[in-house]
Amino acid sequence: MYKRDMYTVLENKKIAKDVFLMVLEGDTKYITAPGQFINILVEGFYLRRPISICDWDDKTITIIYKVVGKGTEAMAEMLPGKKLDILTGLGNGFTAQPGSEKPLVIGGGVGAPPMYGVAKHLVEKGLKPTVILGFTSKDDVFYEEEFKALGCEVYVTTNDGSYGTKGFVTDVIKNLEGYDYFYTCGPLPMLKAVAMGTECSGQLSFEERMGCGFGGCMGCSCKTLTGNKRICTEGPVLLKEEIIW
């Protein structure tokens, strides 16, 4: 279930290069799983901006977004008190895999925020996920401390080696043992590398340009081994076994 409502910006601050964290106040009861997203109407732009949910509680939603165009530029300039028209509770989100005891939580760039919600959800279930975060460079790194504060073991990689392990998230994964499942979100090449570089099963969150975000327009469809799926409705989270690479 999803709903449109008005939300108030409580906080909006830069946390890394071109990356902002926004806290919104309003009704959160339609959010049911980590990895779901919200769709924000930004004044002056026709289509909404779909942004993944990083964290939520009874009355606030935290999102982390990257400034990539004029819409997110306008978002970055929003001040506390600003009211926004938002659809919440969109997409399927991640589901904790029954039986998995040693999961990996893997995030790449602005694919990291929804993985915070996943890690928190798994910790609440009594698990201790291993977290691997991949970024381009030191200036892009964010949320390492927040993941650590959940009690997770956290590895950070940067492509240029300016922080943490030099290379990609898969350079860390190949040296890890004993994990039995993974949850991931990030750029497409990373998702593919993770799926190919792991023997266990997992859930992967995909991105696509959307029209509506709630299944009305068929703008974000993809083919899977289990049939056509809309990234906004039957996704964004797909199972490793159903993905056609």
């Binding site: 026709y46 029209g211 068929m218």
Partner: protein, 302 residues
């Protein structure tokens, strides 16, 4: 009390507001937001003989006050629509619906219309000869008056339901095409479908949409749509359903003043899932504001 009831080929609608094909799927996504029985009716997702996945992604681009889509008629095929979608729709919608039918050949249109003719839930068949996103069909029909005449005639021969032909604006003379549909026996005209458009991503230096071009819709195209509705409504003697960028009750009234008997709402549904609900609820207020007691009094008044 104002009267918002209008009649399309003998079918009385509670109001003239109709979600447009391709922006409302088969209704259930919107039934999650509100009771869709308040709609005049709606036009379901463009349906073809075979199931279609449609075009590669990205299929969507944004424009100032609008959007471009290149979905490419993704649909489950006419058989699945009849066996699955219509029975599902019956659970949430107790009015008749407009069946939007697309094809690649006269035979395909005829095949689909023959099947849909038997469905009690269908009030009007909207023959889409205008999809800009399908190569070798769709819009190819809609840009040649001879084809439009032939498709219309062939479809009319296999159904007793009213046939409305949905026209493409991507032509030199819209009136000529509308007259060809009328001559072929069309009971009404729906217009406009989307305008062919394009965007280029400055970062990648490539078109945003995988298929390069797509159908441009949204408030930006409203004046173009209004002009074409006006031209067609004054040139034919059959009802016109007007659409293109309609986003408010004021737009609905303006379309009707241009000559539309009913009005479809497209892209607005995607930005605001409550768009049609809000337009219908606002309509009596706007009618009163402009001294309109009965919508039928203003059809073509401009």
């Amino acid at each position: 009390m104002v009267n918002t009831k209008v009649t399309l080929s003998g079918w009385e609608l509670d109001n003239p507001v109709i979600p447009a094909s391709g922006t409302f799927n088969f209704g259930k996504e919107f039934a999650d937001f509100y009771d869709i029985n308040m709609l005049g009716t709606f036009s379901f997702k463009g349906t073809t003989r075979e199931p279609r996945f449609g075009n590669p992604t990205p299929r969507i681009a944004e424009t100032p006050m609008g959007m471009i889509n290149s979905v490419g008629l993704q649909n489950p095929g006419i058989h699945a629509v009849i066996e699955h979608e219509l029975p599902e729709l019956k659970k949430i919608f107790n009015k008749k619906v407009i069946a939007n039918i697309s094809g690649y050949s006269v035979e395909e249109y005829v095949y689909c219309c023959q099947l849909i003719d038997k469905e009690e839930q269908v009030g009007i068949i909207e023959v889409n000869v205008s999809c800009p996103n399908v190569h070798g069909g769709g819009m190819a029909f809609g840009t040649d008056p001879k084809n439009v005449y032939e498709v219309t005639k062939a479809v009319k021969a296999v159904t007793t339901k009213p046939v409305y032909v949905k026209l493409s604006p991507n032509v030199t003379d819209i009136v000529e095409i509308a007259k060809a549909a009328e001559a072929g026996g069309a009971d009404g005209i729906s217009l406009i479908n989307t305008l062919l458009g394009m965007r280029i991503d400055l970062k990648t230096k490539k078109p945003v949409i995988a298929n390069k071009m797509g159908g441009f819709s949204g408030p930006a195209i409203f004046p173009v749509a209004l002009r074409m509705v006006y031209q067609v409504a004054h040139a034919v003697n059959i009802p016109v359903i007007g659409m293109g960028g309609v986003s408010s009750a004021e737009d609905v009234i303006e379309m009707m003043m241009a000559g539309a008997t009913a009005v479809q709402v497209g892209a607005a549904n995607l930005v605001n899932p409550y768009a049609c609900k809000e337009i219908i609820e606002d309509l009596p207020r706007v009618m009163e504001k402009y001294g309109i007691k009965d919508l039928n009094d203003i059809i073509g008044i401009a």
